[in-house]
């Protein structure tokens, strides 16, 4: 008995020592890298949100760009930190309150970056745009990152959302791409009658449901972008169009258009339902294109069976060439960075390298112009690029347009609307009250 105890004790001690040793090693490694950076080389701290696990292609390309940049600039090293999306948001918030933002990092457009800009956290990148990147951005993408005519972010991605659908499910039930809401409703009915989930939706994240609402509002508004006008206070949110859009949402709910329990599902869960062919349709932005085209981890058979259609017109109104979308993340340079010049040089280099690599290797649409014709691209990708060129208007995601606190109200109300907890009138009124208070 004594012996056994002794053995256990020694075993425990061993494990602890190993743990301690492991910790020590990490410390040692870090201080080592600090030493090199405090020498001749300047170290630029860079944070991004594409971890290897969930965004392998992005991750790889970022590392390539960093390696190239370091090779060209001997005196600059890039100190990298990678976090996943939500953790990244949290960490950036905390870092900014203690004034310790990385020298270069990622931000979202418009409302999201407003507090940072007001708090004087982001440096103006107008000089970078003018000197290195003039004329390289797709029309309008820079606008989302500009406040009072000063640009604070360099957009990397441009996304539009479309309805992706499973061609083999559609064929099996003799369905065709809908052009009007009535046709979409018919499809929903047919699929439900045959026991197939019509639309995958993960509304726990609420911005997913928001895209459905935004599209309905856009189509019902015809030529006018009523939603954006309501958000920037040119119009009331209690506009008939916005109320009717909410009614349309509820009639979709009544028709069981979405998968069961969508309000409790995360977007990832909904996506996996669509990708495991458990649901026929899925409204998402083009950042997911790789999953439907080039991503080798997804079965070829599934990738071949994915098609997409533009959001249908509602009641004969609306332009299918209007999209909900906008620039995704962009790079910012911290205002109080000790190595601002180097940071700007890196951000500029990153943007110049990013465009073509993003198209060919990641399969996302960059915010910088790319000569698509000269590249060998998947067919769906070319279609999306063509649609993008033909786009009449791109409405920026509502939760990005609004200030963070109004966006929170919007997202909560979207969940309530989809859950049938509020009437369309109250939905509009709550928005109006919140927006008019600001």
């Amino acid at each position: 008995m004594k012996l056994r105890k002794a053995v256990t004790l020694i075993g425990m001690l061993l494990i602890f020592t190993l743990l301690l040793a492991a910790c020590n090693e990490e410390d040692g490694g870090e201080s080592g890298s600090n030493e090199t950076s405090s020498g001749d080389a300047k170290s630029v701290k860079f944070m991004h949100l594409w971890p290897e696990g969930s965004s392998a292609q992005h991750y790889k390309i970022v590392n390539e760009i960093i390696a190239d940049f370091e090779a060209e600039n001997d005196d600059i090293t890039i100190d990298l930190e990678v976090l996943s999306n939500e953790q990244y948001k949290d960490k950036i918030t905390v870092l900014s309150t203690s004034n310790e933002l990385p020298d270069v990092g990622m931000t979202w457009a418009a409302g999201y970056m407003e507090p940072f800009v007001n708090g004087n956290m982001f440096a103006s990148v107008d000089d970078v745009v003018e000197s290195d990147l003039s004329d390289s951005f797709v029309e309008g993408t820079l606008d989302g990152f500009a406040i009072d005519d000063t640009t604070y972010g360099l957009p990397l991605e441009l996304n539009i959302s479309t309805v992706f659908y499973n061609k083999s499910i559609f064929e099996e039930h003799g369905l065709e791409e809908p052009e009007t809401m009535e046709e979409l409703n018919e499809i929903v009915k047919t699929l439900n009658d045959n026991g197939v989930n019509p639309i995958a939706l993960g509304n726990r994240d609420a911005w997913t449901g928001s895209m459905w609402y935004m599209y309905l509002a856009d189509r019902l508004g015809g030529d006018e972008d009523v939603l954006s006008e309501a958000i920037n206070r040119e119009k009331s949110f209690e506009d008939p169009v916005l109320i009717q859009a909410a009614e349309e949402v509820q009639s979709l709910i009544d028709a069981d258009a979405f998968v069961q329990g969508f309000n409790g599902l995360a977007d990832e869960e909904a996506k996996s339902m669509f990708m495991s062919e458990q649901a026929a349709m899925y409204l998402i932005a083009t950042w997911d294109l790789p999953n439907f085209t080039t991503n080798e981890d997804v079965p070829q058979e599934f990738r071949d069976s994915v098609g997409y259609f533009q959001f249908p017109t509602v009641d004969g109104s609306g332009d299918v060439n209007n999209y909900v979308g906008g620039p995704g993340v962009g790079l910012f340079v911290a205002e109080n960075s000790d190595v601002k010049e180097e940071a700007k040089a890196f951000a500029s280099y990153f943007l110049q390298q990013w465009g073509e690599k993003a198209v060919t290797e990641v399969g996302v649409i960059p915010a910088t112009k790319v000569d698509a014709e000269s590249l060998d691209l998947p067919e769906m990708y070319v279609d999306v690029l063509n649609d993008l060129n033909a786009a009449t208007n791109i409405t920026l995601y509502a939760d990005v347009q609004m200030s963070p606190s109004a966006a929170q109200v919007h997202l909560d109300m979207i969940q309530a609307l989809f859950g049938g907890e509020v009437t369309p009138e109250d939905f509009a009124k709550t928005h109006e009250d919140t927006l008019s208070q600001e």
Partner: protein, 295 residues
Amino acid sequence: MNIVNKVMSNKWIITLYTLPALLLIIVLIVVPLILSGYFGLMNWDGIGAMEFIGLDNYIVALQDTKFWQSAMHSFLLALFSALSLIAYLAVALILASKIKGANLFRKIYLIPMLLSSVAIAQLWIKVYNPSNGMLNSILMTLGVNNPPAWLADPNIVLYAIFVPIIWQYAGFYILIYYAALKNIPDSLIEAAKIDGATPLQIALKIKIPLIMNVFKVTIVLAIVGSLKYFDLIYVMTGGGPNGASEVMASYMYKLAFSSYDFGYGSAIGFLLLIITLIVTVIVRKVTATKEEIEY
């Protein structure tokens, strides 16, 4: 022994020995508490300049239906956690009564405690998945046609999350009760047996009264722990849908980190502290007894 007494009665020595812990508590707990109370007086987005607005945040919070709704949810969780202690006690009583395999069961009950909250949350998200989840699959094979969408239905979601929370802490409380029960001298139980007491009588009249002090401590632990609970709710629903599973801590988090309203979030955090403090005092008062049972 004498020397020890001498040393321990020296006030300087006492101060010296308690100082490190005291300093840590002041720096890591007391100062942030005061700061969050102070931030609560500000209109502050966490990044820009602060603006002093007096008690406005606190006044708004007291009229904020969402805050009271989340407080209500926290209290419900506290109630359920406290009630579940009775079940834990029952399990501990059985485990402590020398049944076969008690040792193994004790370890099995402890497993949830060894898992991180996020892992538990991911596990239960899968269990609760409305179309592919284990729970609904079982229900459907049992002939339930329309099993609920556990995490999406605002009437159910809160209780659906309580289950893993209560499951998560079972091992902890069972372990505490088990240790307390093992401390009861065998002689007392032997004597009772000789007097012809049934196992139930022994449990109710000897064992439970003897570990009452431990039980009271666990009540406080369970209630305080529930009032400030955050982890599973944040990962599983984020307080949704539309606040149906929001508790005070997740509401505070949302205000500070999603709405960038650090001033108001701090105020909510400070109110959370005050509420927890008041409840703790009340619980201690209610459960206080004068007589101490000794053996």
